[in-house]
C-alpha cells in the first residue's frame, strides 16, 4: 500500500474536488475504530532514562538541596544548572534508581551550566544539537515537554515529572536588564508552561521526538512585578561548552600538575593587591574584603564583595584552594579571575 502512495498525492494535487470526495468518504468507515486522544506517553517515557535527580548542599534558609540534570555522554557526563546545590560533590541518581557520587568537571558561570561526571559506561544520553540558521532545533510555537524532578516529587527509581507546553519565544534574558536576578545574559527559550519550579533547574526540555532542546533554568522572578519567568537555555548555546568539557579541552578542575613555586616567586593575595574576608571556615568562600589602593586588583576594577569563582579558568571553592592555585603561578605573570558581582559574571585580568 505504501509503495503507490506518492502517486495518490499527485492525483490529489491535480483534482481538488475529487480528492475532497474521496477523503471524506474514507473518513466514515474508519470513524468507528476509536482513535485515542493524542497521548504523549511515548514522548514522555522515551527520555526518562536520560534524566537524573541530583542531591547536594542546601535544605536550609529556603535553599533546596535537590535539582535535576541529564546525561550528555555514555561515560556519565551530566549537564545541570550551576547552583548552591553543587557546593558539595553532589549525589546523582539515575532513572533506574542507581546512585552515584559525582565530581564537578565543568563549570560555565556565565551560562549557569555545570557538568558533573559519574562513573558509568554505556549510559543512555542526549545529543546536544546545535541546529543551523536554516533548520533550527526548534521554533516558537513548537510543543515541548519539560522533564525534571521539580519539588523533589520523585525519589529513587520513580520517574521524573513531565509537563507539556510550548515555546513562546526565543529571546535574550537581559532584554530588561536588572529586573531578573541572573548571571545568564544570553538567549533563552521562553516557555508557556510553569516549568521553572524548585528542583526543576537542570532538567531537560525536549521535543515530542525526545530530542534535547535545552536545559531548564532556575526559578526567576521579575524584581519589579513579581512575575515568575519560565525559560530554558537552548541546546545550541550549550553544545560547544559541553562538548569542550566532555572532550577534556576545558576543565575547571584545579591544576595539580604545575609545580608549587617558592613563596617569594609565586602570587598571593598581597601581590594581587587584595584582601579576602577572614578565613575562618573549612570552606570559606573567596570574597574580596578590601583592595590595596592603586594595586593590581584595584587597577583591574576588582571591588570589595566580589566573589572569586575561577583563577585562570580553574574552579576554586574556598580560600585554601585559592592560595594553592596562586602558589602555582609565577608572580610576574598575569592572573585571570572570573568573579561574580551580584548577578553579573565578569572576567578580569590582573597585571602585576
Amino acid at each position: 500500500m505504501n509503495s503507490h502512495q506518492p502517486a495518490h498525492y499527485q492525483d490529489r494535487l491535480t483534482s481538488i474536488a475529487l480528492v475532497s470526495l474521496v477523503t471524506f468518504g474514507l473518513l466514515i468507515p474508519s470513524a468507528p475504530t476509536a482513535h485515542a486522544q493524542p497521548s504523549l506517553a511515548r514522548s514522555s517515557s522515551q527520555v526518562q532514562n536520560r534524566v537524573v535527580k541530583i542531591y547536594g548542599a542546601g535544605g536550609v534558609g529556603g535553599l533546596d538541596a535537590y535539582q535535576s540534570g541529564f546525561l550528555v555522554s555514555p561515560a556519565g557526563h551530566v549537564a545541570t544548572a550551576w547552583s548552591s546545590v553543587l557546593d558539595v560533590d553532589p549525589i546523582v541518581i539515575l532513572n533506574d534508581g542507581r546512585r552515584f557520587e559525582s565530581k564537578i568537571v565543568g563549570f560555565e558561570p556565565a551560562l549557569e551550566l555545570a557538568v558533573l561526571k559519574v562513573d558509568g559506561s554505556d549510559l543512555p544520553y542526549f545529543e546536544v544539537p546545535s541546529g543551523s540558521p536554516d533548520a533550527p532545533i526548534a521554533r516558537w510555537g513548537d510543543p515541548v515537554l519539560a522533564v525534571s524532578n521539580l519539588f523533589n516529587i520523585a525519589t529513587g527509581n520513580e520517574p521524573a515529572s513531565v509537563m507539556q507546553g510550548r515555546i513562546a519565544a526565543r529571546s535574550k534574558l537581559d532584554a530588561r536588564r536588572g529586573t531578573f536576578q541572573t548571571a545568564y545574559r544570553g538567549e533563552v527559550w521562553l516557555l508557556d508552561l510553569v516549568a521553572n519550579n524548585p528542583g526543576a533547574a537542570g532538567g531537560a526540555l525536549v521535543d515530542l521526538e525526545g530530542n534535547l532542546l535545552g536545559m531548564l533554568g532556575k526559578e526567576l522572578r521579575d524584581r519589579k512585578t513579581g512575575v515568575w519567568l519560565n525559560y530554558a537555555i537552548p541546546s545550541d548555546v550549550l553544545r560547544a561548552p559541553i562538548g569542550d568539557i566532555i572532550a577534556g579541552r576545558k576543565s575547571v578542575s584545579p591544576v595539580d600538575d604545575d609545580p608549587l613555586l617558592a613563596r617569594d616567586k609565586s602570587h598571593n593575595a598581597a601581590t594581587l593587591g587584595l584582601k579576602l574576608i577572614p578565613d575562618v571556615l573549612e570552606t570559606t568562600p573567596v570574597y574580596v574584603d578590601a583592595l590595596t589602593p592603586n594595586g593590581p586588583a584595584s587597577r583591574a576594577d576588582l571591588r570589595p564583595d566580589d566573589l572569586i569563582l575561577l583563577v585562570n579558568g580553574r574552579r576554586i571553592t574556598h580560600q585554601r584552594a585559592f592560595r594553592d592555585q596562586l602558589r602555582r603561578i609565577d608572580r610576574r605573570d598575569n592572573v585571570t579571575l572570573t568573579i561574580q558581582r551580584e548577578n553579573e559574571i565578569l572576567e578580569m585580568t590582573i597585571r602585576p
Binding site: M1, N2, Q5, P6, H8, Y9, R12, L13, I16, V19, S20, L21, V22, T23, F24, G25, L26, L27, I28, P29, S30, A31, H35, A36, Q37, P38, S39, L40, A41, S43, S44, S45, G62, G97, G141, P143, L145, L150, F151, I153, A154, T155, G156, N157, E158, P159, A160, S161, V162, M163, Q164, G165, R166, L193, V194, A195, N197, P198, L208, W228
Partner: protein
C-alpha cells in the same frame, strides 16, 4: 492549542507514513484535507459509497484525525462536564468540586471540602440546577468524602478507568469549581497531561495522606479540590485533591495531585456505610537495603503479618500482587487500603518464597482518629451574613498555621473569599422564599453551616452518631444486610434450638466421623465422633475461639442464630462495616460487624447474590478469628498455608455457589488452614430439654483431659 497538537500529529503521521515525500507535499496535503473536511460535510453519505472498495490511505486518515481528535475532545469534555459537581458550602463558607458516580446521586469529593459544611451542602450541576446534598461517609486519612445529591434517580455519572492503564503523558482534563467561579453552575475545564504516576504525598499528622496518586500539569487551583480528573474519553482517572504551591502563592504552578481511582474504589464501598474510615498499616516497618531489596526492619508481634510468619529481615516481594521495589513502594501501596482489609503478601524468608494473606491493622486506635480530625482541620470560617462584624481575613491565617510546606492545601478558605458575595445573593434570591413557610417547624430543624435550617428532604437523611459521618446510611445498609440473611435462612426457625447432623472431616484425619451440633440461645454443643464440646458461658465461647478448638464454630453459629432471631438492633452493637475482599479476592464483600458478649462477629455477603459466605469470630483483635465458611467454593476446601499460592487464587473460578436455603457444607478455618469440614445432612429444630444431660458433663470432662 490542542488543534495544533492534532495538526502536528497529522504531520507526524504523514512524515512517518510517506517518508519519501517532501514537507511541502505534506503541507499541501494537509491544507487539502482541511479544505476537504469543510466542504464535504453535506456529501458524506454520498461519498461513503465511493470509497468502500478502497483502502484508506495516509492523507484521508490524516484529515480524519484532525477532525476526530477535535471532536473526541469536545465530546469527552461535554460528557465529563455532566458528572462534575460544584460543591458550595452554605453561607459562603467555601466549597469545591465533586464527581457523580451513581445515578441515585452519590458523588465523591474531598474530606477537606465537605468538612466545613458538616452534614449538608448545596451542589450545582451543569444542567443549571442546584441540588441539596448530604454527607454519607468520610475518609479523613485519604481525604475522600462521599455525598449524596438528592432529588433525582437519573443523575449522569462518571466511570472509573483502571489506574494501572493511566500512563505518564496521557491527556487529561481537570473539571471543577476553581475559585468557586461556577456560580453560574458551569464548571471550569483545564487541560494537561499526566505528569507522574504512583506519586506519594506526605500526610499532615496522620490525615490527608496521598498514596499512589497521579500528578498532572493541568491547572489545579483552590476549588478544584474534590473534583474529577478525566482522561481523554471523559472517564474518571481520579479525584483531585491537592497541589504543590510553595512560595508562589495559592495558584497553580503546574503540579496538582489526584487520588487514584483504584484507591477511591477501595474505599467507596466502605464510604457507603456512613462511617468515618481509617487506613491500613502492616504492623511492620520496612527499609530499602543496599542491594535494592525491601527488608522488614521491625515488626509487631501482635500483627497478623507476624502470625503469618513474617519476621525481621525478610524481603517483601509483593503486596496485593503488585511488585514492590522500594520501601516507598510499600507505603505507597499500603496508603491505598482501608484498615482491616486482608490482602495478599509475598515475601522471601531464608531463600523460600511465601505467599500469604495479611489482615491490615488500623492506623489509629480507639478515638484517636476523631481526636485527630478535631485538631487537623480548622473550624469552618464564620458564615458571613450572620456576624457582619467578623473580620473576614481570619480564616486563611488559621489555615496556614500548620506551616509544613508539604501540608495539604485546603482550598476552601481562599475560595470562600471569592464566593461570599455571590452566595449571599443566591441565598436571598432562591432559597428564602421556599423556606419561609412554617417558621416554628423551621426552628426545630437542624441548621446548616450558615445557620439556616436544612431542607426537609435532607434532614430525613441525616442521623448524627459518634463515630459516624451519617448513621442514616449505616442503618440503610443494616436493613439490606438483615433482609438478605433472613432470605437465605428462611428455611430455619431462629427461635428454636437447631440440631445439625452429618459427617465431619477433621484436618489431618482421613476418615470422616459423624457429628452432631446443637445451637441454642446460650448453650451450644458439638459432638464429633466421641468428642464433645459444650459451651455454656460467654467465657467459654471466647476461650474456644482463642484456643482454636473445633467448638469455636459454635460461636459463629450462635451469632448467626442470634442475628436471625433478634436482628441488628437488638443483637448488640451492630453496624455495617463496608466492603472488603475475602481471601484477598474480588468482588468486595458486604461486611457487617456485630459484637455480643465478648465476641466480635463479621458477616461477609456476596455483593450480587447477597449470600452470606463467611462468618468470622474474633475473641481478640490480636489473634486469628475463627472463620466459618458457609458452602465454601470447592477449590478452597483443601487449601492450607502450604498450598496457598497466588496462582491457586488467581486461577480459581469465580465463586458460583449461590444456592439459597440451608447450607450443606460448613468449614472452620484459622489463618489459612482448614480445621474441620462438616457435611450437613440434616438441619432441624429440636427441644433443648430432650438433650441427654446426664452424660454430657462426663464427655465434656473427657475432652478436657
Amino acid at each position: 492549542m490542542v488543534l495544533w497538537t492534532a495538526i502536528e500529529m497529522t504531520l507526524e503521521m504523514l512524515r512517518t507514513v510517506m517518508s519519501p515525500s517532501t514537507p511541502r507535499v505534506v503541507r499541501a496535503a494537509l491544507g487539502l484535507t482541511l479544505f476537504a473536511a469543510v466542504v464535504s460535510i453535506p456529501i458524506r453519505s454520498e461519498a461513503a459509497d465511493v470509497v468502500t472498495t478502497n483502502q484508506p490511505n495516509a492523507a484521508s486518515n490524516s484529515d480524519d484525525i484532525v477532525w476526530r481528535v477535535e471532536r473526541e475532545r469536545t465530546d469527552a469534555i461535554a460528557k465529563a462536564m455532566q458528572s462534575t459537581v460544584c460543591v458550595f458550602v452554605p453561607g459562603g463558607a467555601g466549597g469545591g468540586s465533586g464527581v457523580l458516580i451513581s445515578p441515585d446521586g452519590y458523588a465523591l469529593t474531598n474530606f477537606h471540602v465537605s468538612s466545613p459544611a458538616g452534614t449538608y451542602m448545596r451542589c450545582g450541576l451543569n444542567d443549571g440546577n442546584v441540588y441539596d446534598a448530604v454527607i454519607v461517609g468520610i475518609d479523613p486519612v485519604g481525604d475522600l468524602a462521599l455525598i449524596q445529591l438528592l432529588g433525582r434517580d437519573d443523575f449522569p455519572t462518571a466511570t472509573f478507568v483502571p489506574s494501572r492503564s493511566v500512563r505518564i503523558g496521557d491527556a487529561c482534563y481537570a473539571i471543577g469549581n476553581p475559585f468557586l467561579l461556577a456560580t453560574n453552575l458551569q464548571p471550569t475545564v483545564t487541560a494537561g497531561i499526566v505528569s507522574g504516576t504512583r506519586r506519594y504525598q506526605y500526610p499532615s499528622g496522620t490525615l490527608l495522606e496521598y498514596g499512589n496518586c497521579f500528578q498532572t500539569d493541568a491547572s489545579i487551583n483552590p476549588g478544584n479540590s474534590g473534583g474529577p480528573l478525566y482522561d481523554s474519553h471523559g472517564d474518571l482517572i481520579g479525584i483531585i485533591g491537592r497541589a504543590s504551591f510553595e512560595k508562589r502563592g495559592r495558584v497553580n504552578v503546574g503540579v496538582g495531585y489526584a487520588i487514584s481511582g483504584d484507591q477511591a474504589q477501595n474505599f467507596l464501598g466502605s464510604l457507603f456505610s456512613g462511617r468515618i474510615l481509617d487506613h491500613a498499616t502492616l504492623g511492620a516497618t520496612v527499609g530499602t537495603d543496599d542491594d535494592g531489596s525491601v527488608r522488614v526492619t521491625n515488626i509487631l508481634q501482635s500483627s497478623d503479618a507476624y502470625r503469618r510468619g513474617l519476621r525481621y529481615g525478610d524481603e517483601i516481594l509483593e503486596i496485593d500482587n503488585r511488585v514492590v521495589q522500594t520501601a516507598n513502594d510499600v507505603q505507597n501501596l499500603l496508603a491505598t487500603f482501608p484498615a482491616q482489609w486482608r490482602v495478599p503478601l509475598t515475601y522471601r524468608q531464608k531463600g523460600r518464597v511465601v505467599h500469604t494473606l495479611v489482615r491490615l491493622a488500623s492506623v489509629h486506635r480507639g478515638d484517636e482518629l476523631l481526636e485527630e480530625m478535631k485538631t487537623a482541620l480548622p473550624p469552618p470560617p464564620p458564615a458571613p451574613p450572620t456576624p457582619p462584624s467578623d473580620p473576614p481575613g481570619d480564616a486563611p491565617g488559621d489555615n496556614d498555621a500548620p506551616g509544613d510546606e508539604k501540608a495539604p492545601e485546603e482550598d476552601t478558605d481562599e475560595a470562600s473569599e471569592n464566593a461570599e458575595d455571590d452566595n449571599a445573593e443566591e441565598d436571598s434570591n432562591n432559597d428564602r422564599p421556599a423556606e419561609d413557610e412554617g417558621s416554628s417547624e423551621e426552628k426545630n430543624r437542624p441548621k446548616d453551616s450558615a445557620g439556616e435550617p436544612i431542607p426537609q428532604a435532607a434532614t430525613e437523611r441525616i442521623e448524627e452518631r459518634k463515630g459516624f459521618a451519617n448513621y442514616y446510611y449505616n442503618k440503610k445498609q443494616q436493613s439490606k444486610f438483615i433482609a438478605r440473611v433472613q432470605r437465605q435462612f428462611d428455611g430455619v426457625n431462629p427461635q428454636a434450638t437447631w440440631k445439625l447432623q452429618g459427617q465431619a472431616t477433621i484436618a489431618g484425619e482421613k476418615e470422616p466421623k459423624l457429628f452432631e451440633m446443637i445451637v441454642g440461645d446460650d448453650v451450644c454443643e458439638l459432638t464429633i465422633g466421641s468428642r464433645r464440646e459444650r459451651l455454656a458461658t460467654p467465657d467459654a465461647y471466647v476461650q474456644s475461639v482463642d484456643t482454636g478448638s473445633a467448638g469455636s464454630l459454635l460461636a459463629a453459629m450462635r451469632s448467626l442464630k442470634r442475628m436471625l432471631d433478634k436482628g441488628p438492633e437488638q443483637f448488640g452493637d451492630t453496624y455495617y462495616w463496608g466492603t472488603a475482599p475475602v481471601l484477598g479476592r474480588s468482588p468486595l464483600r458486604d461486611t457487617t460487624v456485630a459484637t455480643h458478649s465478648g465476641i466480635e462477629t463479621r458477616f461477609y455477603q456476596h455483593p450480587e447474590s447477597g449470600r452470606l459466605e463467611l462468618i468470622e469470630s474474633f475473641a481478640d483483635r490480636d489473634g486469628d478469628p475463627a472463620e466459618l465458611w458457609i458452602d465454601p467454593p470447592e477449590w478452597l476446601i483443601d487449601i492450607d498455608a502450604q498450598s496457598f499460592k497466588r496462582f491457586a487464587l488467581s486461577d480459581a473460578p469465580t465463586d458460583s455457589a449461590t444456592t439459597n436455603g440451608t447450607p450443606t457444607v460448613l468449614q472452620l478455618r484459622y489463618g489459612l488452614d482448614p480445621l474441620a469440614t462438616l457435611n450437613v445432612k440434616s438441619w432441624s429444630d429440636t427441644d433443648m430439654e430432650s438433650m441427654p444431660t446426664a452424660d454430657k458433663d462426663a464427655v465434656s470432662d473427657a475432652t478436657n483431659e
